[in-house]
Symmetry: C2
Subunit: 293 residues, 2 copies
């Protein structure tokens, strides 16, 4: 299995679906659609939708049934980045080597573009006629819970309130498991739910998503210390400059690397129940923990 | 029928449901829940949920089946106010006589409180087990479309882009019908959809909601010119100061009053098909067009 090719194909599939699901740039009022498209097509890795597709594929090779939900997850991820970059939040000028949304379209439009992406995510889910309504409702509950104050928003709140203050290992764990972890975990689960995973299988997928989500965030923290700016498309060293709580900051960089390895192995530990079909999830995990961008 | 008492009872019912549906203030992380509750319990009239209940009541007296959706509409309305008040948008310090959300909790928390309310609206809808899943999915489609770039957000975008520029009657109509009109129209329709309205009845309800939504906005514009600050809980004369496009600004204040009357009568025109059951909707319309706050 050629992972680079696999990822490229999946990314192309997701991008095509996003183009179809998001109003065109010339739809009135144009500026909001330009602003939305500017950020969603700014070169994201499409990790979340790819995880949904990979989990869904365990059950059904017809990926079209997973694409609307996969795209909704990417829209929510993208809205959170646009809002996180605002001057009142992280105040970032660049993301993935491009100016952030508010630097191009202004703060008001950036707030609205984020709002619109969040709204569109649920519109796309509620219009998803490829799946039965019971499954789609479960998926909406899953995504809403992972994105709300008990999930992603909660993590962002604690992260903001912690900035510049000493942070305990427990608080850091809370931030990581919610701010990025919750949506990554949900992305895997959504594929399982739509595919019709049984209870035991959903547990395995949940564990996989949870381990990968935390590993993903720790790798982000490590790359901010020793990554290459040209590969990352952003300035490194920002966590220290902004006095952000990070895993290597609290535990040290070697323990951080060890933790990633531990999480990687934990993520694989129960995938055997899927036998050969679980291969893609395994390779995907390996790829993610070895990324340098 | 005592309209004051009716409205008070409905408002109390909606407030009680909101208290139940929104996480308590002491739920971790507390500050976001405080911030959400500060704005949602800041004395709103609950117009949108009351319209949902009134339309739903045409079909079924058990209002509990309409309350989750009614509250979701109020959450979306409230999120839009929090974001509209931000310095990058309308930059308002007061709303309903109280400091705006960002003046109390800071801009970052206000952005997140709005995001959280929008997310919670769809979480509440997707957890609404009182209704069959087909109806709830239609309601989600309705609410998402009314709130997105073809509805409320679209209206806000055009309003923002028009500030300080001369605005045509057509553009003003676009702004009004989307920025406030779309969600008010949807509020009425949602009651009908959940109640099981037939196609013809839903058309009548749509017309009712559409007329009321536009009338509501024109009245807002009139009150900004000649309303009493103490009753409104906000400064008047702000539209002129901010060079906002308004109906009386373009057409004059007398034509604005005439338009409200015309819309009022149009809103009632087909309600006969509901016979005596339509009484509450009629009185509600009369109350709304005569409001001075």
């Amino acid at each position: 299995m050629n992972m680079e090719k696999y990822l490229q194909e999946r990314k192309a599939m997701v991008d095509k679906a996003l183009h179809r699901l998001i109003p065109p740039e010339d739809a009135y009022p144009q500026m909001i659609h330009e602003s939305i498209r500017y950020s969603i097509f700014a070169g994201g890795k499409r990790l979340r939708p790819i995880l949904t597709l990979a989990a869904g594929e365990l059950y059904n090779q017809d990926l079209s049934r997973y694409l609307p939900a996969a795209c909704a997850l990417e829209m929510i991820h993208c809205y959170s980045l646009i809002h996180d970059d605002l001057p009142a939040m992280d105040d970032d000028d660049y993301r993935r080597g491009k100016l952030t949304n508010h630097k191009v379209y202004g703060e008001a439009m950036a707030v609205l573009a984020g709002d619109a992406l969040l709204t569109l995510a649920f519109e796309v889910l509620s219009r998803d006629s490829l799946n039965d309504s019971g499954a789609i409702i479960k998926v909406m509950q899953e995504i809403a819970a992972a994105s709300g104050t008990a999930g992603m928003i909660g993590g962002q709140v604690v992260d903001l309130l912690s900035e510049g203050n000493p942070v305990s290992a427990d608080t850091l764990n809370y931030i990581h498991s919610r701010k990025t972890g919750a949506l990554i975990r949900a992305s895997v689960r959504v594929g399982g739910i739509l595919g019709g995973a049984g209870e035991e299988e959903l547990k395995v997928l949940t564990r996989y998503g949870q381990c990968l989500g935390l590993a993903f965030q720790i790798i982000d923290d490590i790359l901010d210390i020793e990554g290459e700016e040209s590969k990352l498309g952003k300035k490194t060293g920002m966590d220290i400059q902004k006095r952000k709580a990070t895993y290597p900051g609290i535990h040290g960089i070697e323990p951080a690397r060890e933790k990633v390895k531990e999480l990687y192995h934990a993520s694989l530990s129960s995938l055997e129940i899927f036998e050969a079909r679980g291969e893609a999830l395994k390779i995907l995990a390996g790829f993610l923990v070895n990324r340098d961008y």
